[in-house]
């Protein structure tokens, strides 16, 4: 359906650095993911997780280094790149005064989705909001907004999905629903990158884990379901305060 350029890795980051003023937030990150990977990115607060994921989905440009998503470079093919990625953040990106249907219709039009009406109905069904298509989003609970935000992110059938703390503000039921949707997405062979604080939620679905600490990727391995129990001590080992090998770069 969609013409995609050829690529070795669906997500590729090489030496990505980013500075805010004089504060180096990312200090050279390399990451390569293959199609169908589900990566969960852990890390303490202020490690640069959100910055990194924003760079991956072209909301921010890398200070130096190269990013390539589905073969697109965010500097030169931003629009083509936007069409193949979806992004769920703890901000819902929804307009509070518009109804659920209107919000999806707006984003659907922006992504030029064919047969939009049916698509929206299907999506609302999927995220369990089929009963409230005409209610304004500001009347929704946080969990309902987060579900709708998920529908918004996948309205154009993205190839890659980025999730920045998607479980924030979801109750048990909502979290289970989100998990179901993610499972479905993963089983369709889509690539997913998720940021999480919550070890259990983060480890449920992924086949890769990575730990980001003060702007560096300190751990990145494949993980199978049996190893999940073993991961926790590893995680804490990397998170605890200890001096990092550093280079002075002026």
């Amino acid at each position: 359906m969609r013409k995609l350029p050829s690529y070795d890795y669906i997500i590729e980051a090489k030496g990505v650095k980013k500075e805010f003023g004089f504060k180096a937030v990312l200090k050279g990150i390399d990451l390569q993911l293959k199609e169908g990977d589900f990566l969960t990115l852990f890390g303490p607060n202020g490690a640069g997780k959100t910055t990194f994921i924003q760079i991956l989905c072209s909301l921010m440009l890398p200070g130096s280094g190269k990013v390539c998503i589905v073969g697109f470079d965010p500097r030169s093919d931003r629009e083509a790149l936007c069409e193949v990625i979806g992004f769920v953040s703890h901000h819902t990106f929804l307009y509070p005064n518009l109804s659920a249907f209107e919000n999806l219709k707006f984003y659907g039009t922006m992504y030029n989705v064919p047969a939009l009406g049916e698509k929206i109905e299907k999506l609302l069904e999927l995220v369990g909001l089929a009963d409230f298509p005409n209610d304004q989003v500001q009347t929704f609970s946080r969990g309902m907004q987060q579900r709708l935000s998920l529908a918004r992110a996948v309205i154009h059938d993205p190839v890659v999905l980025f999730l920045d703390e998607p479980y924030t503000g979801l109750d048990q039921l909502g979290a289970e629903d989100l998990k179901q949707i993610l499972v479905e997405f993963r089983d369709k062979g889509k690539t997913i990158v998720m940021i999480s604080h919550n070890l259990d939620r983060g480890l449920e679905l992924c086949n890769r884990v990575a730990i980001l600490r003060s702007g560096r990727l300190v751990y990145h391995e494949e993980i199978s379901e049996t190893e999940i129990v073993d991961f926790k001590p590893i995680y804490f080992k990397y998170i605890e305060k200890r001096p990092l090998p550093f280079q002075v770069a002026l």
């Binding site: 500075e19 004089f22 504060k23 180096a24 003060s214 550093f246 002026l250």
Partner: protein, 228 residues
């Protein structure tokens, strides 16, 4: 080493020329017949006006190059030049009325040149303010865009004011000053002196800004070592 010697020589020449200019203005140049002693402010006013515009033009060019190349060096140049430009523009706006009051009998008139200078002064003050309040990771981009807009505004403002002035006629213009030869030489000398002074100010300001950036970088590295 030779670079250092050259730099010192440059500063010394600037210093001496400034002295020569002061001598020329107060001793060498004759007193103008109709305007009297106040005319001497012209030697300060004219070069300052020229250099203020040049400084803003440098900001404009450096902003364009920055957006094209994305090299922080150009952002620093644009910033420093705007600062020096605002300084010279302030000199122009202060010396202008001092001269105008005895000669035109008003402190201020809405002449296109005067008004354009005033608007330009406002614009680049806004430029400096914008730099102060904007978030760091967007500062260079936003100020570069504003630096471009600010200068692009000059010709339209000039023409608009010329249009507007025709309905509020101002009788006096800045024309009709007799310039004798010593006056011409003095003006030329002050021009050179001010030009070197401007270059030296700009150069040192850029140097200072670079030092500041380096210090901040060292500080950031230092903090990182001790935080982890």
């Amino acid at each position: 080493m030779t670079k250092r010697i050259f730099e010192i020589a440059f500063e010394v020449v600037t210093f001496l020329l400034m002295f020569a200019a002061i001598y020329a203005i107060f001793i060498y140049a004759p007193i103008e017949k109709t305007m009297g002693i106040v005319q001497k402010i012209f030697y300060l006013h004219v070069p300052a006006a020229f250099l203020a515009f040049s400084a803003f033009f440098i900001t404009f060019l450096a902003s364009i190059v920055y957006l094209y190349k994305k090299d922080q060096k150009w952002d620093v140049i644009a910033y420093c030049s705007a600062e020096v430009g605002v300084l010279f523009c302030t000199i122009v706006l202060i010396t202008g009325p001092i001269w105008a009051k005895p000669v035109w009998n008003v402190w201020w008139t809405w002449d296109p040149r005067l008004t354009t200078t005033l608007i330009l002064w406002f614009i680049y003050l806004a430029y400096l303010m914008l730099r102060g309040v904007v978030r760091e990771n967007q500062r260079a981009n936003l100020s570069a865009v504003f630096g471009i807009i600010g200068f692009a505004n000059v010709p339209i403002t000039f023409f608009a004011i010329r249009l507007w002035r025709t309905i509020h006629p101002v009788i006096i213009t800045s024309e009709g000053i007799n310039i004798s030869k010593p006056m011409k030489y003095t003006l030329l000398l002050t021009f050179c002196a001010f030009f070197l002074f401007f270059l030296s100010l700009l150069k040192n300001r850029i140097k200072l800004e670079r030092l500041k950036i380096n210090t901040e970088n060292v500080k950031a590295v230092y903090e990182e070592i001790f935080s982890s």
